[in-house]
Every structure is written in C-alpha cells, then in structure tokens.
Symmetry: C2
Subunit: 307 residues, 2 copies
C-alpha cells in the first residue's frame, strides 16, 4: 500500500504514522517542517496505549510533483481555511488510480475537491482525536484516535474498505461508513457548538461552557440536527443527549478553533459553521442560534483582522 | 431647588452640574473621588456648545446621612450592576417629600427601588450622552446630552415637569415623557444590540459592527420591539430603521459596556440584556438572537471571573 500524506500537521503526521507502523510505504509532503522531517522524521509522543513512535517517511518532498511514483491513496490532511488551495495541493499527487482521502473537520467540504477531480475516487474522513503539533516534526497525541471513512457522496468501495481495515490493524478503531456525509453532520453537532463558543467566551473549556449554558449548547446542536434532517441525513433522536453526556465525561478540553484563535492562525469558521449556516438557509430551516454565533464569529474575525 | 446627586461618575457629575449652572443648590455624595471633589470640585470639559465648567457642589459628603437638609430631588446616577445596593445608597437621602430620580441604563430597573420606597415619587430617567470620567473629579463630555424624564410606572407630576423645565433652561433638550417605560424600551433597542456585540466581537466600534452584520443587528433589535409590544409598550414601526440610520451617521463609537469590559469593571449585562431576556421569556416571545447573545455574555463574564 503506497500512501502520500499531504500536510505534516498533527492529523496528517498521526494518521500517516499509523499506516507506516503496519508496513505501508508512506511518503509525506512537508512545508514549514521540511528540513526537520527529512533529517529526523516525525516524533510522536502518545499518552495512549499506542505508545511513542518515530515516523520515518519513505520519502519527504516539498511538492508532490517530486515523487517518482504516484500513490494508491493521497491523504489530504489540511485545515479547510481561506488561502489553502486544496486542488493545487492535490494536483501533482494523483495517478490514474489514486484515491483522494480528505481528513478534515467541517461540513460540505468535499464538493470543491470532487469537482476538481471528477475521475478520482473520493474518500471522506473524520478524525476523532486530541492531537497537537508541539514543534517542527513533533506531535503530541493526548487522547482518542478513532477514524470514520466512507466514499463521497456515499457508499463503500473495496479501496475504502482496505484502508479502513489497515487502520483497524494499526491499533485504532476505524469505522467504514456507507453514509459518511451523515457522519459528518453528526460530528458537526459537537463542533458547531463548542468550537465557536470556546472562542466567543474568550477561551473557556468545554466543561465550563456546558455547565454554565447547557440549554444554549443544546439549542445550537438541535439546529444542526434540523439542517441534517432537511438534507436527508436525519441523525438519531438521542444525538444531542449523547453529545452532551459524552462532553460532560470528557476532561476539560480546549477546542481546535480556540487553539487556532489563541495562536493567531486562521480558524475553520467557514468549514464548520459558515457551511452549516449556508446549508440551513438553503433548506429554509429556522436556525437563529447558529446565525447568531456565525455573525459573532465573523465580527471576531473582523476585529482580529484590524488588530 | 435642592438636589442631591448620588454618584460622581460621568453621568451624575454632568447632570448635577447642569442644574448648578442655573442656580439650583446641588450637593453630591462622592465615594472614591471624595477628596478631589471636596477640594477642587468637578472639572467638566465639553466638546459641545455647553462649554467647559467647574462644578462646585453646595456640599460634598461621603454619605447622604451627613447632610443637614433633605433634597427635593435625589438623583441616583450609578450603574445597575451586581454589588451596587441602590436602596442602601438612597435610604438616608430621602425626606418625606424627596422625589427619587433614577438616571440609568437598562430595562425594568425601577421595580427594586419602587418597592423599597413605596411612599416616594419615583422619576425614571434616560440619558442620551457620550460622557466619560477621565480621572478623579474630571469629566469629558464628548457629545449629545439629551435627557428623558417621566414618572414610574407612567404619568408626569408637577415635580417631574419642573425638573424637566430646569434641564431645558440649562441648555440641553429634556423630554418629559408620559410613558417613560416605553421610552426605556426604545433605548434598549439600541443598547441590547450594540453593547453586547461590541464586547463579544472583541472590541469593534458601532460602525464596524453595523457595516459587517446589519441583518444580525436588526434581528436583535426586532426581538426587543417584540417584547416591548407584548408588554403593552409598542414602539413605532420604523424604530429599527431609525436606530440603524442614526448609528450609521454617528461617529465610530465605543459602547459603555465595552469601556467597562476593557477596564475590568462590572458590565450592565443584567440591566440591559438579562432583564430584557427575562421579560421576553415571561411574554413567551421568540427571542433566540437575544438568548444567544445573553448566553454568550454570561460565558464571557464567567471567563473574566476565572482569569
């Protein structure tokens, strides 16, 4: 199995390393970390039973065009934010039979890639993980690691099943999903509430938010469920209860959007919240809580851009 | 006319000084500024045709109990925030015929005082002004100054008319309002939108907020109108249009809530927004945008309290 990971951030490094550990030939496209990764590989410190691992990629390149052979899978592991041109990053990575794998947060983020490469199999992936890049070529895996994979817009190809099976062998749980878009809405229920609220509150962790404003969190989550239903991706009726319960049991957690905000990096406001709001508007669903937090996130971004 | 001003912040100093200028006997209860005000009075620098003025109160006391004579009017000019005990501040200021005058932001802020002093005339007042305390005994009057006065819960007594007439003579416009509660809801339309949004955006001025998110601002304003109508204080149908237009024409403006937030002072979240939301809940009105910004303000305050 030949794999190319595009993006050596926390997510790409972690999920590339897992496949390398079970014998896949995994190369990486590195940008800012290129020198470090080429010289020393990527050091992964894990707090989980997976243990620590030094990931030495088969090849380290600055651009996919430098590779002599095209991969079976091109894993694009980048944040979906303005200024990241995903088709440009993928263009030179693809041979005729290369499957594209997107491992990203957000909703309705596949279409741009599907339209750019209509002849390629597109696998949409969701990562449930706490993992952070602590420095060039240094990744800290705090908890979790589950992955969900499925073909876009739906179905499960042999190639997708093979990738999911490989991940299962690597030591994480990987769900092969016939309806990955539904799974994406399910994840969005949590993300659309806690990511914006962590930023708009000025930096609260998930537990403080939930304890202080559970009804508000639930109202946001219910609106995501409403949109998902209107789009034919109805979620189980206990979705909100389960998300609230599991957040209650999680350790206090800083969301990825808050980490990005505090570090002055672009936030996935559009991928997570803006795309959900636009989908809601298309369906005519009543989503005033989502509209409110989206408007406020845009004001917060405007303020940050003026500073 | 004997007047006692309780609170030598920007608002109390300004509206006390106006009456002193036209010959009223105006004393003040000063707290942190006591020494400065006793020694040098209050210096008011005005950017308006009113001009600069040094206000030398008839008496400066730390507590109303120190005064030998009770006033005709006790003007309470304090922010309505947790920890400020308004009945305690008024208790020793009142003779049998003293009218209480509240000059404060917010909605439904009169009841606590009305219940504490049921035998006193209660005049509710609204100040439309940009005025800032720049140091002990130093006030900077940037713009505006209009006042609205009326009896609570409604009507206009001779005493209220006399006070309004005095303010008119002092050089500002003072509206004597038969329905001051309606006027308070009208002011809340602006306050409930721009005050929270200036804080939640991280510090944007009113113009940036309006330019970027006019629809959101209007949605919040419409919900205040909805509550006012449900409570029998229907506002003119062009209220929101007029507030938006006039904000558009104002110079960029930092709200009082933002100034408080940046200075680490308590904010009038409950007086302006919490009371409006509770009124809305009582009426059963649909107010999801107000609920959203209220929940977020409470999260912001929680974060500030943990810092």
């Amino acid at each position: 199995m030949k794999v190319l990971v595009i993006g050596t951030g926390a997510v790409g490094s972690f999920y590339g390393a897992l496949l390398a550990r079970i014998g896949a030939e995994v190369s990486v496209v590195a940008r800012s970390d290129y020198e470090q990764v080429r010289t020393s590989g990527i050091e992964i410190i894990s707090e989980t039973p997976l243990g620590d691992y030094r990931f030495r990629p088969a090849a380290v390149v600055r651009d996919a065009a430098e590779l002599s052979e095209k991969p079976d899978y091109a894993l694009l592991c980048v944040k979906v934010v303005e200024g990241v041109d995903r088709p440009a990053l993928l263009k030179d990575a693809l041979g005729p039979s290369t499957a594209i794998v997107l491992v990203s947060n957000g909703i309705e983020i596949e279409d741009e890639v599907a339209k750019a490469f209509p002849d390629h199999e597109l696998i949409s992936g969701l990562a449930f993980i706490c993992v952070t890049r602590t420095g060039p070529g240094k990744i800290w895996h705090q908890a979790y690691g589950r992955l969900a994979l499925g073909n876009y817009p739906n179905g499960l190809s042999e190639k997708t099943k093979a990738l999911a099976a490989a991940y299962e062998r690597s030591g994480i749980h990987c769900i092969a999903s016939e309806n990955i878009v539904t799974a994406r809405w399910q994840k969005c229920v949590w993300n659309a509430a806690f990511n914006p609220l962590s930023v708009l509150s000025g930096g609260l962790g998930t537990n403080d938010i939930l304890t202080a404003q559970e009804a508000f969190v639930r109202a946001i989550m219910e609106e995501i469920c409403l949109i998902a239903t209107a789009l034919g991706h109805a979620l189980p009726s206990d979705t909100v209860d389960r998300q609230v319960d599991s957040t209650d049991k999680m350790p206090p957690y800083k969301t990825s959007m808050l980490l990005d905000f505090e570090a002055g990096r672009p936030m996935e406001t559009e991928a997570i919240l803006g795309n959900a709001v636009r989908a809601g508007r298309r369906t005519g669903a009543r989503i005033p809580h989502l509209e409110s937090i989206y408007a406020l996130m845009k004001l917060r971004e405007l303020k940050a851009s003026l500073a």
